[in-house]
C-alpha cells in the first residue's frame, strides 16, 4: 500500500473514532463542569442509546429516526432521574453521587437485559450510508465519513450553544459559581435538570451512532465508561475544548497505537493519562482544583 494512502486511511480512521469518543465524553464533562457530578451511569446510557437506536430503526425502518428516538428516550430518562434522585443530593458530598449513579448503572444494565434479552442486536445501515468511497484507490466506508461530519457538527453546535446563547451564558455562569447564578434569579434547579437530560441525550446519540459499527450488546456500557473518564480527565474536567482535544488525542493514540505498537496498546491509554495528570493535574485545558 502506498504510504500516503496508508496515512490518509489511518487519519480518517482516527478521526471517526475521535468523533465517537466525543459523543461519549462531552455529556460527562458537561455534567461535571456544571453539576460537579461524576456520572458512573454514562456508559450504561451510551449502551441504552445503542439499544433504543437499533429497536427504533427496526420498527420504523428509518436510521435517521433512530438518531432522534435514542436521545429523546435517554433525555426523558435523565430528567426523571435528576428530578427524583440527584436533585435531593446537591447539598451532599461527592461520594453520594458516586453511589447513586453506580446504582443507576447497575439497574439500567439489568433493565436492558430484561427488556431486550442477552443477544446482541443490530440493524443494517441505510443505502445512502452503506457505500464506500475510494481514498487513493483504497476503499473507505461512507458511514465513517458521516461519523466525522456528525462529530464536527455536534462540537460546533455545542460550542455555539455555550458561547452564543442566553442558556449557554447561564450554563457557563453556573459552572463558575452556582450560588451567584441563583442569586441573580436564575432557576439553578431547572438548569441542572436540563444539563443532565442534555448530557444523557448526547451519550445516547453516541450509542445510536456507534450501533452500526459495534451492534448493541450488554458489555458495551462497562466497556466504554473508562474511555470516557480518560478523555474527560486528559482534556480537563468540565472543559469543553479539553474534551474535544482529549477525544482527538485518544482517537489518534488508539488508532496509531494499535497499528504500530499493538503489544502495548492495552496499557498505553493509562500511561498517557498518568503522564498528562502528573504534568498537569487539571488536565490539558482544565483549571487545577
Amino acid at each position: 500500500m502506498d504510504p500516503l494512502a496508508l496515512f490518509a486511511l489511518q487519519l480518517l480512521n482516527a478521526l471517526s473514532l475521535s468523533a465517537l469518543f466525543f459523543f461519549l465524553a462531552v455529556g460527562l464533562t458537561l455534567i461535571f463542569g456544571i453539576m460537579r457530578v461524576v456520572n458512573f451511569a454514562h456508559g450504561a446510557l451510551f449502551m441504552f442509546g445503542a439499544y433504543v437506536g437499533v429497536v427504533a430503526q427496526t420498527l420504523s425502518g428509518s436510521f435517521i429516526f433512530s438518531l432522534v428516538a435514542a436521545p429523546l428516550a435517554a433525555g426523558l430518562l435523565g430528567i426523571a432521574f435528576e428530578r427524583s434522585a440527584l436533585s435531593r443530593l446537591y447539598a451532599r458530598e461527592h461520594s453520594a453521587f458516586l453511589l447513586v449513579t453506580f446504582g443507576l448503572a447497575l439497574a439500567l444494565t439489568e433493565a436492558i437485559r430484561l427488556i431486550w434479552g442477552a443477544d446482541a442486536r443490530q440493524a443494517e445501515l441505510p443505502v445512502f450510508l452503506a457505500g464506500i468511497i475510494f481514498v487513493m484507490d483504497e476503499p473507505f466506508p461512507v458511514y465513517r465519513l458521516f461519523l466525522i461530519g456528525a462529530g464536527v457538527m455536534c462540537a460546533l453546535a455545542c460550542w455555539a450553544g455555550l458561547q452564543r446563547t442566553r442558556i449557554g451564558l447561564l450554563l457557563r455562569a453556573a459552572s463558575q459559581n452556582a450560588g451567584m447564578t441563583a442569586a441573580l434569579g436564575n432557576d439553578v434547579a431547572r438548569i441542572r435538570a436540563l444539563v443532565f437530560a442534555l448530557a444523557c441525550a448526547l451519550a445516547a446519540l453516541g450509542g445510536a451512532l456507534a450501533a452500526p459499527l459495534l451492534s448493541a450488546s450488554l458489555g458495551l456500557g462497562s466497556n466504554v465508561i473508562i474511555d470516557a473518564f480518560v478523555i474527560v480527565m486528559i482534556g480537563g474536567m468540565g472543559s469543553f475544548i479539553g474534551t474535544a482535544a482529549g477525544s482527538l488525542l485518544l482517537g489518534f493514540a488508539q488508532t496509531f497505537g494499535n497499528f504500530y505498537l499493538p503489544e502495548l496498546s492495552l496499557g498505553m491509554t493509562y500511561a498517557v493519562m498518568i503522564a498528562v495528570l502528573v504534568l498537569r493535574p487539571g488536565g490539558l485545558f482544565g483549571r487545577s482544583e
Binding site: 500500500m1 451492534s215 499493538p262
Partner: protein
C-alpha cells in the same frame, strides 16, 4: 427473618458436622447438578445457551423416567464470568447443597480457579465450554474432564483443511488472551508443517471496539488469506467493520470457531466465512436431527455452538452415571475414564490420561440455506479424532 434463617442453618450445621464422614452425595432422591455460570455480564449470551440447554435436557431425561430412576435437578447460579464469584458459588453448591457434579462453567479462568479445589471437595467437573489448552495439559486435575472441542483442536481441524487450499500466505488476527494466543500459535505451527507460511499476526486487546486500524494493517500486509480467532461481541464488531471496508472482497477469511452468535448479527457479511466448528446444528446424523427438532419445537430457536456442546456434556455425564450405576464421585470418575459412546456430534471417547473427549474435528462454511432466516454454518470437512486431538496432556501439536 434473616436471623431465623441463620439460626436454623447454624443448628443444621452443628447437627451435620459428625455426618460429614458420609459420602457427600446421597444415593436416593433427585440427582442434583451444579451449574455456576455467567448469566449476566459480558458472557451472558453464552450462559443463556448453557442454561436453556440444561433445562431442556433435564425435562427430556425426567420425562423418560430420570437417571437411574431418579429425577435430575439443576442448580443454576450467576457468576458474571468472574473467577472469584465462580469459586464462591461452586463451593456453596458443593458444601451446602451437597452437589458433587459441576457443569457449564463459562470462562476458562473460572474453570482454572475451580479445578484445583475438586479433590478437596470430592467433586467432579465436565467442561462444555472451556477452550484453553492448559485445562487438559499443565493444569489438568484427575476429577476434571472436557467433553467439548478445545481451542487447539479447533485450530488443528482448520489447518488440516487448509492443506488443500490454494492460498499459501496467511495473516492472523486474534483476541489477546490465552485462547486467542494459543490458537494463533497452534495455527502458525501447523502452517509451517504444510508448506505454507504466516506473514504476520496481530493481537487485539480484549474489549477492542474499533477494528479499523487492524483492518488497515491487514490490508497493508496484503496476505492471500486471513485467519481470525475472535468470538462474541469482538467477532461481531470485526465482521461488521471488515464488511464495511470491503475486506472480504480482497481475501478469504478463515476463523477458529464459527458461532451463529456472531455470524447472525453480521448478516450477509458472514457468507463465505470458513472456520473450525465445535458444533453446528446442520450436522447430519439421526441423534442430532432429533436434538435439533426437539430444541426447535420446545424453544423455538436453532441450537448454537454451546447448546450442542452442553447437550453433549450432559449426555457424557448420563452415560457415565448409567455405567457406574451410582452418582458418587469416585464411581462416576472411574466410569468416565475411557468411556466410549456416541452423541449428537458423533462417536467420542473420554481418554483416561487427561480427560479430553476425543472427537471428530469439523470445518464449516457459512452459507444461505432455504427456509433459514439468516446464513448458517454448513459442514464442509470432517477429520478423525486421532488427527485433531493433541497428545496426552499437551496443549499443542509436536
Amino acid at each position: 427473618m434473616r436471623n431465623l434463617t441463620m439460626g436454623r442453618r447454624t443448628a443444621l450445621g452443628l447437627l451435620a458436622a459428625p455426618a460429614l464422614i458420609r459420602p457427600a452425595a446421597a444415593q436416593s432422591g433427585p440427582i442434583r447438578i451444579g451449574v455456576p455460570t455467567a448469566m449476566t455480564g459480558t458472557w451472558a449470551v453464552l450462559g443463556a445457551q448453557v442454561v436453556r440447554t440444561c433445562r431442556l435436557w433435564a425435562r427430556t431425561v425426567n420425562a423418560e423416567g430420570g437417571l437411574l430412576g431418579r429425577p435430575v435437578e439443576f442448580l443454576f447460579e450467576d457468576t458474571q464470568g468472574v473467577p472469584a464469584n465462580c469459586l464462591r458459588k461452586a463451593q456453596e453448591m458443593v458444601e451446602r447443597d451437597r452437589v458433587n457434579i459441576l457443569l457449564g462453567l463459562m470462562a476458562s479462568s473460572e474453570a482454572l480457579a475451580v479445578m484445583p479445589k475438586l479433590a478437596e471437595w470430592n467433586a467432579l467437573f465436565i467442561s462444555s465450554v472451556n477452550g484453553a489448552g492448559s485445562i487438559t495439559a499443565e493444569h489438568w486435575v484427575p476429577n476434571a474432564f472436557r467433553a467439548n472441542t478445545s481451542g487447539p483442536m479447533g485450530a488443528r481441524a482448520l489447518a488440516l483443511w487448509l492443506r488443500a487450499a490454494p492460498q499459501t500466505e496467511f495473516f492472523s488476527l486474534s483476541l489477546d488472551y490465552a485462547w486467542g494466543r494459543s490458537s494463533v500459535e497452534t495455527f502458525e505451527g501447523l502452517l509451517r508443517g504444510i508448506g505454507k507460511r504466516s506473514i504476520g499476526s496481530v493481537f487485539a486487546p480484549v474489549g477492542t471496539r474499533d477494528y479499523s486500524s487492524f483492518i488497515t494493517r491487514i490490508r497493508q500486509a496484503n496476505p492471500q488469506a486471513l485467519y481470525i480467532a475472535l468470538t462474541g461481541d469482538d467477532g461481531t464488531a470485526f465482521l461488521r467493520q471488515a464488511a464495511q471496508f470491503r475486506l472480504f472482497e480482497r481475501m478469504p477469511v478463515v476463523t477458529e470457531t464459527v458461532d451463529m452468535l456472531f455470524t447472525r448479527p453480521a448478516g450477509d457479511a458472514a457468507i463465505g466465512l470458513v472456520g473450525g466448528s465445535r458444533y453446528t446444528f446442520t450436522l447430519n446424523n439421526p441423534a442430532n436431527a432429533a436434538f435439533v427438532q426437539r430444541f426447535r419445537s420446545e424453544l423455538n430457536e436453532l441450537p448454537d455452538t454451546y447448546d450442542g456442546e452442553q447437550w453433549q456434556a450432559c449426555e457424557v455425564l448420563a452415560t457415565a452415571v448409567r455405567k457406574a450405576r451410582r452418582t458418587d464421585t469416585e464411581a462416576v470418575v472411574a466410569a468416565l475414564r475411557d468411556l466410549e459412546m456416541s452423541s449428537i456430534k458423533g462417536p467420542l471417547k473420554i481418554r483416561a490420561c487427561d480427560g479430553q473427549a476425543e472427537q471428530a474435528g469439523l470445518v464449516v462454511r457459512v452459507d444461505r440455506r432455504d427456509g433459514m432466516p439468516h446464513p448458517v454454518p454448513e459442514v464442509i470437512a470432517t477429520y478423525a479424532p486421532s488427527e485433531v486431538t493433541p497428545a496426552c496432556r499437551a496443549a499443542n501439536f509436536a
